[in-house]
Symmetry: C2
Subunit: 289 residues, 2 copies
């Protein structure tokens, strides 16, 4: 089974474990809406790829880790789209959750996804208790206080924003979480994998900035020009289009150089180069080359 | 140290573990604002009381369990007070979090508290891995899908509300969570403690309904008359004041009758009778007697 298919099946199973006949039906539907159809599933794929490169021996724990990372990512999208933040109409090519349902269900669906992330890990944790506990600690650190994605998003509420912390926490933290939990789920040493995740997170953020100024909104599945409209920091605004694509290339190179020694390092390197190439359409890479 | 003091110290320590110099300061302040000063800390006190009645041997795990329950309760208050739900101005005698800060920080503080609940459990989990994993499963079930407090709140978003499920999930689930995790934190059998928690949860809900029609808003720390104003179901509206107080008394009696055999059952019974008496001011108990 390929990684994408495996992730979709694991997400389906984890969501199904949270359903019963006496669940409020609109909340159950809103949860599915927040998770399916997904985007590129970049973070859980990264988690699986690292686990596999480390020689993972327990599929169920690796799948749970990948699902937890994706549920937390979906929760952050749903809450970031709320009227009090980005007030987004469109997400992943369809109406944002608070438009398709309502604001209350968007708040609750995000909450339920955060809980579900930890429940999904706890459900398989007795298979390998100490490994699973370290996994939960790593997932918690990626998303909570003081440096996780919730803290990253909260920099938007400060009068003085610390830009490098903002990006590192808002985007980098969950990418680092994906590599760290991938390694931890395989029984490896997570911290060695932090640099790879953080650099990929920064690369992803730069690619996002580039797509925001240079993409077709229909292809992108969300509006473009938002960074200028909302006066958000953006590598493409600071460096120009060609400069930003060059910077992205440097980040990708430094990311693959940070892969720690492991049984599957060559395959992982190839995979990451192929995946990061997909961060931008071909014509954008060519424009800057 | 008395239970109240012990809980405040444990909450302080758990919050401090989520702080660092590069935390966004307004989010850190909003988290404190959501947790301190607390209400009566009914749920974490119940958790400690059950753990103690079961002969708990590990204070750190019991404290973490009590903190997790209280953080999840605080998160639910902050999110329920948002403009899209109750649009509450006042909570615990001061401005609701989204009024004191802003709506974005109220969303994020709730999210951060949910994560912190699981992190607090994970942080001490290696002391007793299997017990802690069961604790995390129990906490997840109390708050998430399909029957936790998030599901309970979501019944407000359905066109047809199932009242008994609404109350059982919205209030009963976290009271049952408090008794279950108290027992689990002591290494006991959690399910035997469900009936006590659910009946106390229902009693607390009925007391809340009564206070909403019969209290002084200054004493209560939040506005009164909200159930009528928001057309919410209420035992006091259905049974009248005296009828509702009588029903509350029956629930308390049936709750203490549900205490399973355990080393400290007599003391726990006395404690619960004293605590539930404080659910209402003396004059309300006397009015109905």
């Amino acid at each position: 089974m390929d990684a994408k298919h495996r992730i979709e099946e694991a997400l389906e199973a984890a969501l199904a474990a949270g359903r019963s006949e006496d669940t409020p039906p609109r909340l159950a539907a809103a949860l599915r809406y927040a998770v399916f159809p997904g985007g590129a599933r970049v973070r859980p794929r990264l988690c699986l790829a690292v686990a596999s490169a480390c020689g993972a021996d327990d599929t169920k724990i690796v799948d749970a880790a990948a699902c937890a990372i994706e549920f937390l990512h979906c929760a952050s999208l749903v809450h970031d789209d709320l009227p009090c933040f980005d007030d987004a109409d469109i997400r992943r090519g369809k109406a944002a959750l608070h438009r398709a349902y309502d604001e209350r269900l968007a708040v609750l669906a995000g909450d339920a996804l955060i809980v579900l992330a930890f429940e999904t890990l706890a459900r398989v944790a007795l298979r390998s208790p100490e490994r699973s506990i370290r996994l939960m600690q790593t997932v918690g650190a990626s998303v909570g206080m003081p440096h996780g994605i919730v803290a990253g998003q909260a920099w938007e509420c400060e009068s003085e924003i610390d830009l490098s912390r903002y990006h590192q926490q808002k985007t980098g933290a969950l990418f680092a979480g994906a590599t760290l939990v991938g390694a931890a789920a395989a029984g490896g040493e997570p911290e060695a994998w932090r640099a790879l995740g953080e650099r990929l997170g920064e690369a992803y953020q730069v690619a996002d900035d580039i797509r925001d100024v240079a993409s077709d909104p229909e292809e992108l599945g969300k509006p473009v020009g938002q960074d200028v409209a909302l006066n958000r920091p953006s590598a493409a605004r600071e460096l120009g289009l060609a400069g930003a694509v060059g910077y992205l290339q440097d980040l990708v190179d430094s990311a693959v150089d940070a892969i720690p020694p492991c049984p599957g390092s060559d395959a992982l390197r190839q995979l990451i180069l192929a995946e990061t190439h997909r961060f931008l359409p071909d014509e954008l890479w060519q424009q800057a080359a």
